[in-house]
Each structure stands twice: as structure tokens, then as C-alpha cells.
């Protein structure tokens, strides 16, 4: 279902409540189970990209019996074309922290971390100021939940929640097998709730405006509003909060430069949609919810774009599993060989098959998603791959 229109909304970046941590204070008065029910009812899904229902994650975490539980805010925003979490942490960190504290309250966690990507270290001083204010307020409210910042060290794959946990434990950021999920066995083998920055901010806003109000936004499949990081050939680059459910056509009309050839939805892990499919593509349905949208106009070579993506993948593959480690390199070599005329154009079909195999056999989302951008570019812009 689509409302077919593009609607700019102002939920997440709306001004703070007058008194600091007012949302938290009010939520702490509510029944824990009711808060979880509200989050489930709101339809909020993880805003990092995987899109798992947030309320369900909290519910399962609350059911875990453990002497200690952790809440981790995943601020390892590494998906190319994504910068909304940076903006949230700069402009409304209080909402993010409130969301973490609400999560801790309902799940019984006592220790929190913001896993901040190393590239964003310049955000630390301001964040620490806000955390000091939070800790003061938490004390007054009698909430036993402290938060510290953990600095990442530069690895895209650490945005994957189990790789992130490995990294916090001082190891290589190699994803773990799932199950067990982090809500069962997470940081230091204790139940751990990992959510994206925007997910926490959205949770706080649901607690503030109420789930009935929040649910009015979006479509049946995707509730609420969502931040979009718009970059590329656009006169309106930046972060925009939009109601979910608009077509890509409406999106390109609003944000494109009038000459839009394709939009990459969901970062390099997402899909590259050509103009002819703009009408039928609804952002957020069937594609990832990370919110990265990179716009390409007709002057761009899609071979160059794909080459850049594959270069990225080959570098960022953690190397743990063979399909992803070898596959990313072979895809890169493969398109170079076709372009150079060393391999025949039909070789591209072999490569698409290889990327499909990677989807089936790779251990984590990194290797599994390569085929999204790879197949969508090779199939839609085949002639550009060859000539």
C-alpha cells in the first residue's frame, strides 16, 4: 500500500521537552509491559537496516533471566551514503539516550554503551556533556542504568551486531553464528540489546507522542517516519525525515536534479533502482530500512559506481567465510575482465550466479547483500558493464 505522496514530517528532530529527560521521567511511571506493548503496537522496526521489530526484541530481552543485561546503541554507521545517525547524535542526543534508558528500564538492563564509530570521534566531547546531564537525571529518578562510550576502530562489518560485540570484547570484528542471538548470549555472554541510534530516538518519540499518533504515519508494512540520508546528484543533500510509503518517483522528483538516472536505496547493501522502475518502487518495502539514498544522474558511469562498491566490499569483507572473502574479490576481477574484453559479456551471468551463491552461503549480512547492488546494476545497466 502506498500513499504515493512524499510527506516531510518533523518527529525525530522536533525540539526537546522543556525539562531535560521529561520523556524518560514520564515513561518510568508507566508499567514496563505496557511500554513494550506500545512499542510493538507502534510497528517500529530497527532503523539500522535489518528491520527487526523493536518491541519484540525488547520483549524477548525482558524475558531473559540474568544477573546483568546490557544495552548497546549501535552508532557504527558505516554504510556508504548514510549519515543520519551522526546528525541525530549532534542535534538530539538526548532522545537517543532517553531511548536507551527506556529500553533499560523495560528490559532490566543496568549497563549501557554507545558503540561510536572511530570516524566520529570528534563527536565525543559533546556526547560526554550530554551523558553527564543524563547521569545526573537518572540518579534523581532512581534509575540504575549507566552509559559509557566505546570507540570503534574502523571496520564496516562491526555494524553487524555480533561483530560489534566481538569488537567490544577486544577481538577481530568477525560475526558470530546465530542463534544464539545477542538478547540471549551477547556482550561477555550476557543478554544484550543492540539497537540502532535512530531506533532509540524513535522509541523515545513513540513514548512521547503515543503509539496511536505514531502509527498514523507510514504504511501497513512500514510504520512511522524515517530519516533519509540523501546524497549524490541532488540539490537537497542532507538528512530528511519522511513518512514511509512514498514511491521512488515522488522521491526523485523532490530530491533529484531533474536528470536522475538511478537511485541506490539502502546503501551499497541495498538496491540500485533505474528510472523505469521509479513508479513501482516504494521506499521501505522490500528494500532495506537504513535510509541511505544515493542519487545518480545521467552523467554517471554505472560501471564506475559498481566498481567503487565492489572495491569497498572486497576491503571490508572480514575474511572469515570463504563465499564472501573470495566472492567479493572475484566479482571485482570479473567486471574488470568483462570491461577489458578479456571475458565475454555472457560472463556477467556467471558473476550474477556467483553473487546469488554468496547470498545463500555467506555467514552474515555483508556477504549476503552483495548481490542486491551487484545484480541490480548488472541487470539494469548491462551495456555500461560491457562497453
Amino acid at each position: 500500500m502506498s500513499n504515493n505522496k512524499l510527506r516531510v514530517v518533523d518527529v525525530i528532530f522536533s525540539p526537546y521537552s522543556v525539562a531535560p529527560y521529561e520523556i524518560l521521567k514520564n515513561t518510568l511511571k508507566k508499567d514496563k509491559e505496557q511500554v513494550i506493548k506500545d512499542i510493538i503496537e507502534s510497528g517500529l522496526r530497527g532503523r539500522g537496516g535489518a528491520g527487526f521489530p523493536t518491541g519484540m526484541k525488547w520483549k524477548f530481552a525482558a524475558q531473559q533471566k540474568s544477573d546483568i543485561k546490557y544495552v548497546i546503541c549501535n552508532a557504527d554507521e558505516g554504510e556508504p551514503g548514510t549519515f543520519k545517525d551522526r546528525k541525530l547524535l549532534v542535534e538530539v542526543p538526548r532522545k537517543v539516550i532517553s531511548g536507551m534508558a527506556i529500553c533499560a528500564y523495560v528490559t532490566g538492563a543496568t549497563k549501557g554503551f554507545i558503540y561510536l564509530r572511530r570516524e566520529y570521534r570528534y563527536l565525543v566531547p559533546k556526547l560526554k556533556e550530554e551523558l553527564a546531564l543524563y547521569h545526573e537525571n537518572a540518579k534523581l529518578l532512581g534509575l540504575d542504568f549507566t552509559i559509557e562510550i566505546f570507540m570503534g576502530a574502523g571496520a564496516y562489518v562491526c555494524g553487524e551486531e555480533t561483530a560489534l560485540i566481538e569488537s567490544m570484547e577486544g577481538k577481530r570484528g568477525e560475526p558470530r553464528n546465530k542463534p544464539p542471538y545477542p538478547i540471549q548470549v551477547g556482550y561477555l555472554d550476557k543478554p544484550t540489546i543492540v539497537n540502532n541510534v535512530e531506533t532509540f530516538a524513535s522509541s523515545a518519540m513513540i513514548c512521547r507522542i503515543g503509539c496511536a499518533e505514531y502509527k498514523k504515519l507510514g504504511t501497513d508494512d512500514q510504520r512511522g517516519s524515517k530519516l533519509f540520508s540523501v546524497s549524490g546528484d541532488s540539490p537537497k543533500e542532507g538528512v530528511h525525515e519522511l513518512e514511509l510509503g512514498m514511491t521512488l518517483e515522488a522521491f526523485a522528483e523532490e530530491f533529484g536534479d531533474g536528470d536522475t538516472k538511478a537511485v541506490q536505496v539502502g546503501g551499497v547493501a541495498g538496491f540500485c533502482i533505474p528510472r523505469k522502475k521509479f513508479k513501482t518502487t516504494i521506499i521501505g518495502e522490500g528494500n532495506t530500512t537504513g535510509g541511505s539514498t544515493m542519487i545518480f544522474n545521467s552523467s554517471r558511469s554505472m560501471y564506475h559506481v559498481l566498481h567503487n562498491y565492489l572495491d569497498f566490499y572486497a576491503e571490508e569483507s572480514c575474511g572469515q567465510c570463504t563465499p564472501c572473502r573470495v566472492g567479493t574479490q572475484q566479482l571485482l576481477k570479473g567486471i574488470e575482465a568483462v570491461k577489458a574484453g578479456i571475458k565475454k559479456p555472457e560472463y556477467l551471468d556467471q558473476l550474477v550466479k556467483l553473487s546469488d551463491t554468496m547470498r545463500m552461503t555467506s555467514k552474515c549480512g555483508l556477504g549476503q547483500s552483495v548481490t542486491n547492488s551487484f545484480s541490480s546494476i548488472v541487470k539494469n545497466f548491462r551495456e555500461e558493464m560491457i562497453y
Binding site: 554507521e77 558505516g78 554504510e79 556508504p80 551514503g81 548514510t82 549519515f83 545517525d85 551522526r86 564509530r117 572511530r118 570516524e119 566520529y120 570521534r121 570528534y122 566505546f150 570507540m151 570503534g152 576502530a153 574502523g154 571496520a155 564496516y156 569488537s167 567490544m168 570484547e169 577486544g170 577481538k171 577481530r172 570484528g173 561477555l188 540520508s229 540523501v230 546524497s231 549524490g232 546528484d233 543533500e237 542532507g238 538528512v239 541506490q264 551499497v268 544515493m294 545518480f296 554517471r300 559506481v305 567503487n308 562498491y309 569497498f312 576491503e315 571490508e316 572480514c318
Partner: protein, 156 residues
């Protein structure tokens, strides 16, 4: 290498000597010594009581944990697609000319390393780069001449 020994002691005093203290400790060494020398990694291995191979294995996994000598100022230019589209190459070429090194190299006086990196989350203001922890956006060859010129002349 008494100096490294003291530094590692100081850092493990601050962050603890458990395995989960490793990344903060390694980052602390880099903040002081600009990279992780073999001696430093051996010292960390002793302090945490894990094998040196584990320390190197972990360090070499992360792009900000340099295991080879690097300059005091690490210039990391974003090479992801949108920064690339907005003219990353001419920015890099300008700096290569100024520093007389290629991407991946360090100047002889060990002040500057010129590196390319994956997305740094400043795609709406590309081309972008980091010099250590500071970010610079909407770069052009002229702008980068001013920024880097200031570092070359005034920051030692």
C-alpha cells in the same frame, strides 16, 4: 623500550587488563605513538596475558589501528562513491603534490601520512576527509591547499 612499557602499564591501569580492554589500550598507544610498533604489541600481549599473534590479529583487522609506521597527522580522504563523484581525485592529487608522496605513503619527516578510507559519513558534504580527529568537508583543490598549507606551516 621502557617508554612503551610505562605507557602500556598506564593504559591498563586506566582501562583494565582484560581482553575487553584491548581496543581502548591499542587506541591509547596510537594517540601517543601514532602507530602500534612490534614492541608495543608484545608489551600489550604480556600485560593482557594473551599471545602476541592474537594482538596483531586483532589490531590488523581495524583500519584505525595502524600496525605500520605512520605520521603524526593521518589524512584520511573518503573514497566512497559520492565523495568520489564530487571530485575526490583532484583533492588527493593536490595533496600528493604538496606532500610529494603517494596515497598510502608517509612523508620523510614522519609528519604526514596520506590515506584513502571508506565512507566517513559526510556524504552530504563531500568530498570529505579527516586529519586525525578533525573533519573537513566540501573540499576543492584550493580549499585543501589552504587547510593542508596551515598544517605544514603551523602544526608540528
Amino acid at each position: 623500550m621502557a617508554e612503551v612499557k610505562e605507557l602500556v602499564k598506564e593504559l591498563s591501569g586506566k582501562y583494565g587488563n582484560k581482553r575487553e580492554s584491548l581496543i581502548p589500550i591499542l587506541q591509547g598507544i596510537i594517540d601517543r605513538n601514532y602507530y602500534l610498533s612490534k614492541e608495543a604489541m608484545l608489551e600489550v600481549a604480556r600485560e593482557l596475558d594473551v599471545s602476541a599473534a592474537e594482538i596483531y590479529g586483532t589490531a590488523s583487522f581495524y583500519s584505525f589501528l595502524d600496525t605500520e609506521a605512520k605520521g603524526k597527522y593521518k589524512i584520511r580522504v573518503c573514497k566512497s562513491i559520492t565523495c568520489d563523484m564530487k571530485g575526490k581525485n583532484s583533492v588527493v592529487a593536490t595533496m600528493e603534490g604538496m606532500l610529494k608522496i603517494k596515497v598510502g605513503e608517509t612523508t620523510q619527516d614522519e609528519r604526514f601520512s596520506l590515506l584513502e578510507t571508506n565512507c566517513i559519513g559526510l556524504c552530504d558534504e563531500g568530498p570529505a576527509m579527516l586529519i586525525n580527529d578533525e573533519c573537513f568537508t566540501k573540499l576543492t583543490p584550493e580549499k585543501v591547499r589552504t587547510i593542508l598549507g596551515d598544517y605544514v606551516r603551523n602544526k608540528f
